[in-house]
Every structure is written in structure tokens, then in C-alpha cells.
Point group: C2
Chain length 334, copies 2
Amino acid sequence: MATRDDVARLAGVSASTVSYAISGRRSISAETRERVLAAMRELDYTPNAFARGLAGARKGILALNYPLRDEGWSPMEVRYFETATQAAHELGFQLLLWPNAADDVASLTALVSQQLVDGVIVMEVQWDDPRVELFKERGVRFVLLGRNSDPSGLDFVDTDFRASARTALEYLVDRGHRDILFVGEDRVEQGHGPMVRTINELEASARRFGVSLDRFAGPRTYGTGRAAYRHLATSGRPVTAAIVFNDQATVGFINAAQLAGVSVPGDLSVLSIGMGEEAAEVDPPVTTVTPPVAALTDTAVRMLVGAVEGHPATQSEVLMDAPLVERGSVRDLT
Amino acid sequence: MATRDDVARLAGVSASTVSYAISGRRSISAETRERVLAAMRELDYTPNAFARGLAGARKGILALNYPLRDEGWSPMEVRYFETATQAAHELGFQLLLWPNAADDVASLTALVSQQLVDGVIVMEVQWDDPRVELFKERGVRFVLLGRNSDPSGLDFVDTDFRASARTALEYLVDRGHRDILFVGEDRVEQGHGPMVRTINELEASARRFGVSLDRFAGPRTYGTGRAAYRHLATSGRPVTAAIVFNDQATVGFINAAQLAGVSVPGDLSVLSIGMGEEAAEVDPPVTTVTPPVAALTDTAVRMLVGAVEGHPATQSEVLMDAPLVERGSVRDLT
DNA sequence: GCGTTTTGTCGACGCGCGTCGATCATGAGG
DNA sequence: CCTCATGATCGACGCGCGTCGACAAAACGC
């Protein structure tokens, strides 16, 4: 493998000139730069990542701390990782996945202490998240993809789940639905921000609109959807529409209804919060309110990279709206 | 951040002694080692990853080259990544995801030239895969998770798809099924090894058993399953069982059948190749023949790490069986 | 008792690069 | 003609660690 010295020798310049020709941090005559670049091409030279990381301030590696649950990843979660990786690569960074749990402070400390990464993107942020303290103490740069209970002064990017919940409920109410079932995940107690904010807002809005809101929750599985339908069928409530914030359960819910002879959306409307493109593949295609995953991760990665490279942060607290995509799984009763 | 010199000073030894106390590559008296370890603990010292990578032979980073398709990842694919990450972490390595396509030689070359990684695990291996040549030329250590058309002399770990296909077909034939539909993916032309090997073996076995085998293929989507059922319904063939090698399509296929009033497995049996644990969540739970993902990635990672650390390879060509898990989606006609 | 290995430790060097200070040539300004 | 700023380049150093050779002390063989 060619090194900087090889390039310098071939180009007939000093080693530091090669560095400056690459980085552009000092002025180099056009002619010299050309000679250097030509030598680099000829030798097929690429700077050694470890030497750069050791000598310079920028290491070129980011970490995505994404706690994995037993259920594995849903398509949406995969997209977070996918788009984050892509955004990082576009900016010349590598992306490491750290699947450690939020409270696995020991492992995270060990990882961080190696000084391998320039910063961390923190996923699945809890209401009271120990990672915030940990990274602050250690002087590790980080951006939250989500929010804890008090995110003031922190860099974060999050979906505005209160607004999403309002959007979803209003959409149903506008179409004449007055008896609604909410199917969520059983993670409220664990301080899952999106679920907490969604439920709070749904209940507030339901009260305001004067509509009835039943609730059901379970793990993120197909089976939870079926269980939710059984719950609905046996509850005796005159539910005409369901909001499902549990992507795996959505399909199970719809299938269970259909197998019971209930038509969707003829007899029962379904609106999903959080399902991705796969919602278009279901029969019927599902109307969704979905976080703008690519925009979220893109913003988070750029914020982190901006901090690493010393650009002044243009914005450090970002809330994004989740757009509603109509696909026909909600019937208009009016 | 404390450095090796700080530890040495506190322990009253030289810097190199600290290194040897950590690595154990030279004998150190028990007493000295204890002093060093105590100093490390006191200063909360962790060796700097970049310095290690620069000075030593081992870099502590592996790459997983996993070409991502537009459909994103299925649960199975996620598990490959997940288990590989875990295996790497257990062995003290970090794992980078390189989602570059197999024929994106330029990008892969650029990544490899940075010398950031000790080796690469190659996923989605094609019949004629340019990466094999690329990595060989560049002297990059790699292990194939899969096989190209001529894997002799290469390190690889793969599922024995011929055996899996045989297992699946025999299972159905043993239970009296004589008219079978195979639903696959439309990736045969692109040289997708598992699909090619499976189809070849299925056709050979079908001929041997004297059973009829219809075929349908499509992208890895829920919709493909529905299309497959329409195909079956309009074909007029007396099909009693389907083998589906397309995890997303499996659910769509079953649902379409059920909505048409066809009971699974009462009227139609379904056996999936390649679905993971999520098969248990479907209604009815689906009988599967599934690659041992964790064992595969574990073996691949260990092979790679073994090579990196200079252990003699115990085995460099591994074929693993995909076990059949009965879950009740196949009816016994005998 | 004296050579000879073994054990434990130290100092020095190199990995490949980013960057600081110094140098030298050039041209502008007086 | 002499300053003084500017542009272009070079040499040296340091980042933090792994490892080699050297060396003193201890253990061994006879």
C-alpha cells in the first residue's frame, strides 16, 4: 500500500505538501496540486484511516446506538438504520451500529472510551434516559433521535407525535367516526416517548371532540393485532375505526377482521401510525401517518457531523411532522 | 483521557510493560501486572482504538458487505446483520455495514483502501461475483456467507439449499401431496444462488418422485403472495400444497387463500423456506425450512476473526443444514 | 564455582498522518 | 532601493500504541 511519503516522492514535493494538497488547508499552487493528484492516482493512494484518526481531530466514524428488542426490527426501524448509514456515507463517515440497551451503561462506556467514534446518534430515547448523562460526562458528542423528558439544551430531532396523533384523530372524526379503538404497544411503562405522547394527545383530543376512545396494547407482533380484534369483537362497543400504532399488529388486525367477515374499510376503518411503505402492500392498502424517516436521520446525521467539523449549528432542536398518506383503508361515513 | 504513559507513571513501570501486561505477549510478574491493572482501573484507562490500529496488525473492525435492495430488509435479513454484529462484539470487534451492491466495485475499492477493516463478510453472493476478484487482488481477507459458482479455495459458510429443497419436497410427498406449487423470487436471472439451487433441486426431486411442480415468482412483497394465489386459482391445477421461498409473499399467499374461502391447511398446505420466527405469528403458524442464521453468521465471523488473529483455520468450507420446524400449516393426506 | 538459559523489564522506534513554525521567493508599496 | 506582506513549500514533531532488541537479575546445569 502506498503511503503519503510515496506520493510525495513521486510528485517531487514534501510529505506535508501532499497533505495540504488533499485537505486544502493551506494554499498550494495549481500546478503542484495537479502533480500531487496525478501521483496519488498513479499510486492508487488512499489515506490510511487509522493514521488520520490518530493524528487529526476527525475520526470519520459515527455510532448509531439503537437498542434492539427481542422482536427484532420492523421495516420502519430498518429504514432508520439504512438511511442513517447512507447519510453518513454521503458525508464521508462510516456508521457503526451499537445495539446496546439504553441502560447498559457499562458496555456503552467501554465502547465510548475507545475513542473510536466522533459522536453517537441516540435512538429509542426514553423519558429518563441514562445515556444523556453518560455521554455528557464523557464529553461525547451526541444527537438524540427522539427526546427525553427534558431535552432543553440538547441536540435532538424528533417526530411531533402529538401533532401526528391529532392529525390521525381529526382525520377520522372529520369522516364521521365517533367510536374509535387505539391499538398501541405495551411500552408506556418503560417510558417510550412516542407512545406516551401519542396516547396523551389522543385522549385529550378525544375528550375535546367528544368521541369515545377504547384502548388495547400488546407487543409488536402479528398476534397482537389478532388479539386486538378479538378484544374489539367481544367488547360490544360500536367501534367504526381503529388507530393502530404497532406496525406488525396492523396486518394481523386487518386479517382477523376480514376472516371474521368484517370488511375493511366497509365495516371497519383502519389508520396506522408508524407503518412504512409496506402499508401499500396490504389488502387493502393502509392509510398511514408516518414519521419522515429519511429526513429525520438525515437531519440528525448532519447535525452530528456539523458539530464534529466545527460548523456552527444552524438548528439544534428539530420537530418534524408526520404526513398522512391516504390509501383507502378509512371509510367516509358522512 | 488517560494514556498508556499515565498508567505507566502511576504504576511505576515503563510504558511497554503496560502494553505487555495488557496483551500478555511477554511474561510479567504477577505483582507487576496487578499494579498495572490497578492503575488502569484507577485512571479508567482504555487503549485508544486508533493508536492500536495504527501500531498493531489487528484493527478491531470488520465489515459486513450486505447489498440492500429496494424492498429493504426482511426479518431474516435483519437477523443476519444482528447476529453478525453480536458475534463480532463478543470477539472484541466492531462491525461496519457496507450496503454497497455487489457490482459497485468503485465504492467497495474506496472503502477497502482506507484500511479501516481487518476483513469483510460478503453477503448475497452471486454466481459470478466481482467482489471475489476485487478482494483477492487487494489482499483483503474475506469470508463468503453464501457461495459463488466456483468456491473452491475460498472461505465460505453457506446453507445447503439443495438439501433444504429436498427436505421440503420429501416432507410434502411423504404426506401424500402430488401436485405442488413453488412460489419463489424473480432473482434467478441475477444469479441468486439460493434460489437457483433450490429450483434445480426441486425440479430434479419432483421428477424423481413423479410429482407435478408448478412455478410462480415475483418480488419479495406481500403482493406477490396474493398474485401467486390468483395464479393458482386460475391455473386449474389440482394443487394441494405450496412451497414458498419468499418470506414476505408467504403471508400474502395464505391471506389470499383464506379470503377466497380456502382453508389452510385444510384445503391447501403451505410450507415456507426461509421464513424466520415470525412464521409462528401467522394464522395458522407456518411450517418452515429455515437457514440457521445465528450459526451461519457466528461461524463466518469466527472464521474471519480466526484468520485475522492468525489461528490456523480449522475449517474453511462449511455447509449447514436448514432444519424443518413443524408448525401445522401442512396437512397429512395419507 | 562458573557458564548458560530464562524471566522480567526498559528504552527506542515506527506505524502514517495533520499541523505548526520556519523559510524562501515574489511582488506591492513607499 | 528597501521594507513588509503574501503565497508556496518544507522539515519536524506529536498523536498513542505494539513490538523489537538490550540488559540485569534470577534460576539452572554440572
